[in-house]
Amino acid sequence: MLQNLAAKFMTNFGLARLIILGFFIFLCIMAVVFQLDIAELLTSSLARIGMWGVLVLAMLPAISSGIGPNFGVSLGILCGLVGALTALETAFRLGGVVELSGGVLFLLAIIISLPFAILTGIAYGWLLNRVKGSEMMIATYVGFSMVSIMKIAWLFLPYTSPEMAWPIGRGVRVQISLAGRGITRILNNFLSFNIGDVVVPTGLLLFFALMCFLVWLFMRSKTGIAMRAAGDNPRFSEAAGINVNRSRIIGTTFSTILGAIGILVYAQSYGFIQLYEGPMFMPFVAVAAVLIGGASVKKASITHVVVGTALFLGIQVVAIPVANAFTTDWASMGEISRKIIQNGVILYALTQAGGD
């Protein structure tokens, strides 16, 4: 009886998830044992969760529409970065005439990035419709190539604001500080309050919640239902009069848009915009997070997104100081364990893809 229950729990919960949860609990116990600053850990965990949440959420429409985890969400990220740089450039050009506040700049960045994200999403969705069955592989390489192409573009795009441009030569810097424009932590600090020593980044979490709510609403709309059906069983959906290719493009576009917004949320919390190599491996973190949360490459829900983000980024935050506390020689252990988990979970999910 007990054995049956345990077996059932194992199949429902998944061995991989169990190991990760166990590892997380182990890290937390260690943090207590080493007398690390728990409040500090909680504070940065909350910030991290809000920071990554929207990027992880970007996986949901992609998985639901049937293209699988969006390994090419870096395309959305690039659109977001273009939006951010263009907004900063606008602020610079308007400098002296109108001073744009941080909030306006943040919104402006989102608004500018949207048309880019929509167009890119449609084109990318169209591409993915031609490679049905190997979307994940193609998406990964599309992401890699676009990041590389944009590396060249960053050198030639006409951004002239001194906070972005290299002091000598042309092009924009690898890392751009947002400190001067009042955008840094604008969401994090909104309505933020303390519980003891723990800082709750209310605005950031609210924004994540708002995005989740919008996605939830979309999934219950006529288009959203059609999209879910297309992802569940394309042949059924054709028979039900649903345009499967269109649904997949909508899912891809939606995912790309969330990627663009996601990187803006990330950047404002981090305080810097990272270009060039920056977006290269970000999709893997988002993919791993949603998979850890319980999603498969075919099915995902908002719960999976939230649980996955909390678990995976929680580990990231706790692992580094714990590893440091063991011995300073192991300083990179935190990063290494993150990589092992991230890639291990993706691998695990891929091996499960054919099953069921």
């Binding site: 609403l217 219950r220 709309s221 006529k222 239902i225 059609a226 879910r228 059906a229 569940d232 069983n233 042949r235 059924f236 054709e238 028979a239 039900a240 009069g241 649903i242 075919k298 099915k299």
Partner: protein, 528 residues
């Protein structure tokens, strides 16, 4: 018995998971005899051949009863390799050929004629050269025996199907020890002239003393070349006849048999003259179920059955009208033309479809029962939606209420409307499919193979539901089924499809002979 039997099968029985599919089959075949086995789909022909050929599917499901005796010696055939060693060859329905190899290479595959060379003397037989010359000569001889003029060195890819079929046969007769060849529906894919040629060469092979076991449903072919004919029905042998002692009509009757159980409208109903659906020259490109220009009229309020053997195109008709497979031709719904190849349009014209491919096309397996029930109506008829400004959202409560109602009405056994469909049994899944079709409140309902793969109790319930819809709501129903008995129990008229065309329409109490003949693609008896 003048001559000793080559093959004796005694008391052969087989069941899959407790369901008997073959019972107490006895066969006796002499060298040089052409023995035909005829029967409907599901009569057990393929299972019998799988047993004879030692196929994996038999042994992985618990083996079989009875014994196989070859040349007076009891043999245990537990793999196709063993069957080949004994001298049983098989010409498959689906070609087992490598397309990019030449005919010779296909004929000689794994039985190549080898020529030793320097290296092979050191390293062994595995690296001997192929003796292409000898192989070509052998192949030529086999092909000539069949009377086929094709060059042995051309590759198989791109050959007409007839030639592929002959290549398969050539491979079998090239085997030196072959004593018996099984032909599984060999003429199904051939044109008429090719089929004739094939029958000729079968006779020629038999004259050399090789026994032939000929599986088919074409009765005229059976009569023209067989020495003896065994008829199977529902897994039982219903008779073995000498050719001289029987005719096509008797075979047709034996094949179909009386198995009719009237469920409904005891009397022949008067049908209205209004036409609900009319097709003219409907061509549907559905792989394996091609429809070649069907003309069909369905009257309002009618319960029409479409029957016929598998692969003849009966399921293609509904799939074509519903826009699931590319089709041409003309279809009228209540007198107005329907634009084809658009499933949404077909549904908006008041038609609904319960697919034969339940798990493939019929269900969203990873979604809830309620979503499965409402999705077509929601998407195509904008039911169960609430409008807020520009956006339409699902009416969660409406969906739940409707799903609960359907679950109750159709007696869907589940834990609740939120349960995932993949966790339901086959019969309950089928009910979900029917519930979805009903939710659209169609005027014309297409149902394909509604009882396939579901248990007896559920079968009856599904059929009763359909009859109720037809009688009480006046819904026009077009039901496609491989089970003739089922069609005869519920339909007003039954159209029999053969080779992509309707070979005839019969009343449910038509004679077995006529049904059998139509299924075999022959005209019904005049004046019968």
């Amino acid at each position: 018995m003048a001559e000793a039997s080559l093959l004796q099968m005694q008391g052969i029985g087989k069941s899959y998971y407790g369901t008997p599919v073959l019972q107490d089959i006895n066969l006796n075949i002499k060298p040089g005899e052409i023995h035909a086995i005829v029967g409907e789909n599901g009569a057990g022909k393929s299972t019998l051949m799988n047993i004879l050929f030692g196929m994996e599917v038999i042994h992985s499901t618990g083996g079989f009863d009875g014994e196989i005796i070859i040349n007076g010696k009891k043999e245990k055939i537990d793999s196709p390799q063993r069957a080949m060693e004994i001298g049983i060859g098989m010409v498959h329905q689906e070609f087992m050929l490598l397309p990019n190899y030449s005919i010779t290479e296909n004929i000689k595959l794994n039985r190549e004629v080898l020529k030793p060379n320097f290296l092979s003397r050191v390293f062994g037989q595995k690296i001997e050269h192929l003796n292409m010359g000898q192989m070509n000569t052998d192949s030529r001889k086999a092909l000539d025996k069949l009377g086929i003029g094709i060059e042995e060195y051309v590759t198989v890819a791109g050959l007409p199907v007839g030639y592929m079929q002959f290549t398969e046969i050539a491979r079998e007769i090239d085997k030196t020890n072959v004593k018996m060849i099984v032909f599984d529906e060999p003429t199904a894919v051939l044109a008429e002239s090719e089929a004739e040629k094939l029958l000729e060469s079968m006779k020629a092979i038999a004259e050399e003393g090789i026994a032939i076991l000929f599986i088919t449903h074409r009765l005229d072919e059976v009569i023209s070349i067989s020495d003896n004919i065994t008829v199977l029905r529902d897994g039982k042998r219903v008779g073995t006849k000498k050719r001289e002692e029987t005719d096509v009509y008797e075979l047709a009757e034996l094949m179909v048999g009386r198995k009719i159980e009237k469920m409904v409208h005891g009397e022949q109903r008067e049908l209205k003259n209004e036409i609900a659906l009319k097709t003219e020259n409907l061509v549907v490109h559905m792989p394996g179920e091609k429809v070649n220009g069907v003309n069909l009229e369905v009257r309002k309020g009618e319960f029409l059955g479409i029957g016929g053997l598998a692969g003849q195109g009966k399921v293609g008709i509904a799939n074509g009208v519903m826009g699931l497979y590319p089709s041409r031709g003309q279809v009228w719904i209540n007198g107005s033309p329907l634009s084809l190849n658009d499933p949404g349009e077909s549904m908006r014209q008041g038609m609904a479809y319960v697919s034969e491919d339940r798990r493939g096309v019929g269900l969203l397996l990873d979604s809830s029962i309620e979503l499965n029930i409402v999705i077509n109506a929601l998407h195509n008829q904008k039911k169960f939606l609430k409008k807020y400004g520009f956006f339409k959202f699902q009416d969660t409560k409406g969906i739940r209420d409707h799903a609960l109602k359907m679950i109750k009405e159709l007696d869907i056994r589940c834990t609740g409307p939120g349960q995932l469909v993949k966790r339901l049994s086959g019969g309950n899944q089928q009910k979900v499919c029917i519930a979805r079709a009903l939710t659209m409140e169609p005027e014309i309902l297409f149902v394909s193979e509604p009882t396939r793969g579901i248990d007896v109790g559920a079968k009856r319930l599904v059929l009763e539901t359909l009859v109720k819809l037809n009688e009480e709501l006046g819904m026009t129903i077009v039901m496609t089924s491989s089970e003739l008995g089922e069609l005869r129990s519920v339909c007003d008229r039954i159209a029999i499809v053969s080779e992509g065309n309707i070979s005839g329409v019969l009343p449910p109490d038509g004679s077995d002979v006529d049904f059998g003949l139509l299924m075999a693609g022959q005209q019904e008896r005049r004046g019968a």
